[in-house]
């Protein structure tokens, strides 16, 4: 049932560390300090050959400034345009925020593992995201929209610090029209906010869900994911049906630099999307 987009089949260049030329097509402000940069490879052949799976990431390079690992947040069904939702947080992302449409940069990818999209027909999805963590899960939602009938219930539990920090709010109505159950919370809000206030894992108390044939996908701060896993396990979701996307310092994305190691796992290669059952012995260990 993974026919919505072709499988990843990219020929890696001989030097996996060498970026390819790309240009910014458009910039969509999403929230305070967060924008989605749509970019495409300059070479039409590279653009046509690029494919990615939901949850994978690119290395985005600004000459002389640096390179950052950024999840693809756009529709895998239209892989010629690579969307990256980026928050200004460090040197490279702050420099990225100053770019304009038409500006050039380097891109290499896609890298890493992806969310499990090859599920049995009728699988229920529980997508749980915190803050910018919705970015690598948006391709899951966009893929579901392309073949909504292949899934059972699809729930999105999403939260951010404050209402202006919520991403993709303009798309929520469209997602709801396709029977995606969108539940929103914020940590902090003033009286103009009429919605839920509280941390993301608390959204589990607002929903009813069937543990059978259900997959949980979560991305956000590790402390949030810990409690999401706790809530999922409490609802009898098997460990091996819980997937998390992890973040670590990353320099190369191809397993050479050593920075992203998490126990035996290279987050760049076996991750960023990991099955909880596989990493349970290491997950949540202090300073590991």
């Amino acid at each position: 049932m993974s026919t919505a987009f072709p499988a990843t089949q990219i020929q890696y260049p001989a030097d996996p560390m060498l970026p390819r030329l790309a240009a910014i097509q458009s910039i969509q402000p999403e929230a305070y300090g967060v924008s989605t940069f749509s970019m495409a490879f300059a070479d039409p052949e590279e653009r046509a050959a690029f494919r990615f799976q939901p949850g994978q990431f690119n290395m985005v390079y600004l000459p002389g400034v640096g390179e950052v690992a950024i999840s693809l947040s756009s529709d895998p069904g239209e892989p010629g345009t690579m969307g990256h939702t980026i928050r200004s947080a460090g040197g490279v992302t702050r420099a990225l925020a100053r770019l304009q449409p038409g500006d050039q940069l380097g891109v290499r990818g896609p890298y890493g593992s992806h969310w499990p999209m090859n599920n049995r027909p009728g699988t229920n999805l529980v997508i749980v995201a915190g803050g910018i963590g919705l970015a690598p899960l948006r391709p899951v939602i966009l893929s579901v929209l392309r073949q909504r009938e292949a899934y059972g219930r699809v729930l999105l539990l999403y939260g951010a610090r404050t209402p202006p920090d919520l991403l993709y709010t303009g798309e929520f109505d469209k997602w709801r029209e396709s029977k995606i159950e969108v539940h929103i919370t914020v940590d902090l809000a003033d009286e103009s906010w009429k919605g839920q206030v509280g941390v993301v894992p608390q959204l589990f108390y607002r929903i009813r869900m069937d543990h059978k044939n259900t997959v949980v996908m979560t991305c956000g701060p590790e402390i949030m994911m810990r409690f999401v896993i706790y809530e999922a396990l409490a609802r009898r979701i098997p460990k091996d049906r819980i997937y998390i996307s992890m973040e670590r310092n990353m320099k190369c994305a191809v397993g050479f630099c050593g920075h992203c190691q998490f126990g035996p796992t290279f987050i760049c290669k076996q991750g960023p999307v990991l099955n909880f059952a596989a990493i349970e012995p290491f997950f949540g260990k202090e300073d590991f």
């Binding site: 890696y12 001989a14 030097d15 996996p16 560390m17 060498l18 970026p19 390819r20 030329l21 300059a42 390079y61 000459p63 002389g64 400034v65 640096g66 390179e67 947080a89 460090g90 050039q104 940069l105 380097g106 973040e247 670590r248 310092n249 320099k251 190369c252 191809v254 397993g255 050479f256 630099c257 050593g258 920075h259 190691q261 126990g263 035996p264 290279f266 290669k269 012995p281 290491f282 260990k285 202090e286 300073d287 590991f288």
Partner: protein
């Protein structure tokens, strides 16, 4: 002198002085000779020209946190152990330009380095270091991605190994099953006897480099004497690494109190990772001209002991010495096995000798998990 060359797998005896002919052959074939030589009170690896550059008559005394050169009673060319350098600084250089970027006609152009990779002949590679090269082969060329810089240097490197005749107190190759005798992965392997070099031919290229050398088939006496050389080294090895319950004992004791104890001694200085012949971690550095129209990306050796190694926005994953030492040890001895099907440790002992406070990896592993068991 036979006109023909010895075939691969042959063992031959050559006069000691004729090793110079092998060196000359290598240089004529376009190799830069990298070998051991004495500098600043240590045996280091750098470009050499001939036999005279070798540390003839020197032996190294090594203890945790100590390294001293002494004159030996014999006059051997290869009568010492491994020093602070390893071959990784040539195959996996600590500073390497990955590519340059330049704005040309309004477009960025990214160019990998165009200079041909150096063609090295490594002289006097010990068994542990041959094993270390094999480990880095797996790390940097053994997966779906290949490091083209390492691969280019490695593929054309000539390896002239030297069997160890002595061991020092830091050595534990026998525990890691990597030495002291070299068994594979070389072009030529020497065993130094008082009168001759016994040479094992490991490849066609190795055989070719014996051209013009007055070799003779090794006699049973030569072979017997040679095996006693490595046996002698083996008998000198007193250090032992606990391997039988790795990797599990480390995975199961990530919260062991001993990590706190070793952290009170560890300086987090990264020396162990710099001298380790298998540690491969790197970082990158970006530079540009003032106008921002040209830039370079450089790869630099890095260490999991560096404070910002694990930095992500919001902080460090491993802010404490305890967490960094635990990362290094569990990677080296446990997760390395899961990642690459081999331990990351070859038993060379460098991390013990060059630790400024003399932390012994073998002793630390022995202490993990023992308190819980008692």
């Amino acid at each position: 002198m036979p006109n023909n060359l010895p075939r691969r797998t042959a063992s031959v005896a050559i006069p000691k002085a004729s090793l110079q002919q092998v060196f000359d052959n290598l240089r004529a074939a376009g190799f830069s000779l990298i070998g051991p030589t004495v500098r600043d009170g240590a045996i280091v690896l750098e470009e050499i020209e001939g036999l005279d550059d070798l540390p003839q008559g020197w032996v190294d005394e090594q203890q945790p946190g100590q390294y001293r050169l002494k004159k030996s009673r014999d006059n051997k060319y290869f009568g010492f152990g491994v020093g602070p350098h390893s071959w990784k600084q040539f195959l996996h250089p600590p500073r390497l330009r990955l590519f340059s970027a330049a704005q040309e006609n309004g477009h960025w152009v990214f160019r990998p380095p165009t200079e041909p990779p150096p063609r090295y002949a490594f002289i006097g590679v010990h068994a542990c270091d041959l094993a270390a090269i094999a480990v880095q082969d797996r790390v940097l060329t053994g997966s779906e991605f290949r490091d083209p810089h390492y691969a280019a240097r490695r593929e054309q490197a000539f390896l002239l190994a030297a069997n160890c005749g002595v061991a020092n107190s830091s050595c534990f190759c026998t525990s890691m099953k990597t030495g002291p005798k070299v068994t594979s992965g070389f072009d030529l392997a020497l065993t130094e006897l008082p009168d001759i070099f016994l040479v094992e031919v490991g490849s066609e290229a190795g055989s070719e480099m014996l051209r013009g050398v007055a070799w003779e088939a090794a006699t049973a006496f030569d072979l017997s004497r040679a095996s006693r050389v490595t046996q002698h080294a083996e008998k000198q090895i007193t250090r032992h690494m606990r391997t039988e319950d790795l990797p599990d004992v480390l995975y199961e004791n990530l919260e062991d109190a001993h990590w706190d104890e070793v952290a009170t001694r560890c300086l987090s200085c990264a020396n162990c990772t710099m001298v380790c012949p298998t540690c491969f971690c790197s970082t990158v550095e970006d530079a540009s001209n003032l106008r921002g129209t040209a830039a370079e990306r450089t790869r630099l050796a890095d260490s999991c002991f560096n404070r910002d190694f694990s930095h992500v926005h919001g902080g460090n994953i491993r802010p404490t010495t305890k967490s960094r030492y635990r990362q290094w040890l569990t990677h080296k001895l446990a997760s390395w096995i899961d990642q690459f099907g081999t331990s990351g440790c070859v038993g060379c002992g460098r991390c013990i000798t060059w630790c400024p406070v003399g932390i012994e990896i073998t002793e630390e592993v022995n202490s993990i998990g023992t308190k819980a068991a008692r």
